[in-house]
Symmetry: C2
Subunit: 347 residues, 2 copies
Amino acid sequence: MAEFDLIDRIRSRAATRGDVVLGIGDDAAIVQVPAGRQLVVCTDTLNAGVHFPLDTAAADIGWKALAVNLSDLAAMAAEPAWCILSLSMPADDPAWLDGFLDGFLGLAAQHAVALIGGDTTRGPLSISVTAHGLVEPGGALCRDGAQVGDDLWVTGTLGDAAAALALLLPGAGLPALKRDEDERGRASHPASDPPSPLESARAEAIELLRPRLDRPTPRVAVGRRLGGLAHAGIDISDGLLADLAHICRASGVAAEIELDALPCSPALARAFELRQRRVLQATGGDDYELCFSAPVRARESIDALAVQTATAITRIGRVIAGEGVRARDAGGGQWHPPRPGYTHFAE
Amino acid sequence: MAEFDLIDRIRSRAATRGDVVLGIGDDAAIVQVPAGRQLVVCTDTLNAGVHFPLDTAAADIGWKALAVNLSDLAAMAAEPAWCILSLSMPADDPAWLDGFLDGFLGLAAQHAVALIGGDTTRGPLSISVTAHGLVEPGGALCRDGAQVGDDLWVTGTLGDAAAALALLLPGAGLPALKRDEDERGRASHPASDPPSPLESARAEAIELLRPRLDRPTPRVAVGRRLGGLAHAGIDISDGLLADLAHICRASGVAAEIELDALPCSPALARAFELRQRRVLQATGGDDYELCFSAPVRARESIDALAVQTATAITRIGRVIAGEGVRARDAGGGQWHPPRPGYTHFAE
């Protein structure tokens, strides 16, 4: 299968929209931005082994490649519209491509996003997506609008994706399962033995948590309605503390969060001791939840928004004067994470 | 240097424009598309060792990554406006990044293109650029408008980039230098000997031709003015015959080109025998010249455009009824290339 067959395969499956003047198949695509709207553009690249485990299913890779971009649009309070896909593959593999498109186009369909163009090349597996959204002028949610006295909120639950990664790569210095300590010092046993309690607990936790790593939910509906409610927003890709620090830096403020308020999934609570899961919740990346600041008067509207969108939205702290992000434990003491969050190229 | 330092390094050097509402540094960029314009979007990815030789200078990689995208916009007759850069690097290397930005932002400045956002990730060296341009509604030049009786034209000269690659990778089954046959059968000589005539000729040809591989010139000014003159257009990235075949397929027509009419650089003519350079000119990729069809009545305007833009524009054939692309040699006989052009994933 040559490059143009791959492109035909993609084109035959891509949906369109009324504002797409020219889709896949020419040197470029043409779209009509509605009058009175501004264009919001973002890009995110996923590299095999860096942004997803090498064993990730093709459909999950496709889903995630678009999801992380829709998450950026959601964090800007933008309505997603069109996307561009650049796909580097080491070899021609139609079955893999079909799986990838299942995930990618499945998520695109959920949000009426049209795939309008792209590029397919030979190279190490890498997916680069550019997503386009629309906002009313002045309606975007940026990082620099947080004000002293604002509440801080997050959607969904935190730490699940990082927990899944910790379980999949247990040698990476990340927290271990609750049961690990019970097992410590025991001799290894033959593979033919029934799974140990630790192995069973690990398998169960991976089953529950891995979908959060592989198929993050971009908070598009919540993000869209935050434009008029929130002062500043970001999506959590590198970890709550690290991403919240971006808001603080851009807004010239500080933030104080209550560790005990951070939303926790039942699966995470079951698998990890409190001390371990705090690290995951406060610093784990890849959750793609939204973190935003909003004035106290918006509390009722935000609670209503949570109900309307069937999305948990939890108040986790407040914006204060100063700089930096402080996390407090139940006793009111300051908590220091082992590391603030994930950055590429860091030591 | 962490990811955010890299981003700061890029941001500090990127120019902006009046229509950029929010540039690098938030979850997404925001731009204002002027009223009465359509948005043209394209993307092209360059992977190390696939789209450029591994020894390519950082500045040339930066230049080419943007140039191939501006070339797509030119082929659509669009005016370039903004771009997004996704950069995967195997390791943090500020000196390499500075060189890359020299080439990338240098070309961007020539065309008043603003770099408005992007992504930096760890991974094998790969550069994915999405470029945005503007056209009046209906003013874009597409592949499907060629009409029987149209002239066929190309800008610049053909085959130079492929010739440079052939000289750099002489074992790849591509044509050899004129002097190769003189050398055939001679014993190899020690490296300390003075260079042979063949070695000197090769070094000279590489010096003259390699800039065409490393720093292609996107034909932006020509492309912009073709909107009102031409019927169909494409940029030559995979080779003239292959790319012209896209126009024919999309337009439901055939094309006939005169091999002797294909424009040839002095360097190419000097280095390669006629038979060899025909293959390079007709099927060599990476030239990023424009190929377009236009009605006969536009000949004078196109000649004037060549003068105004200081760009060679050469008539190479015509659009006829039927399907496929035929190349004729001086005697009027049909010429068959060893292969039609470059495609990824092909055998």
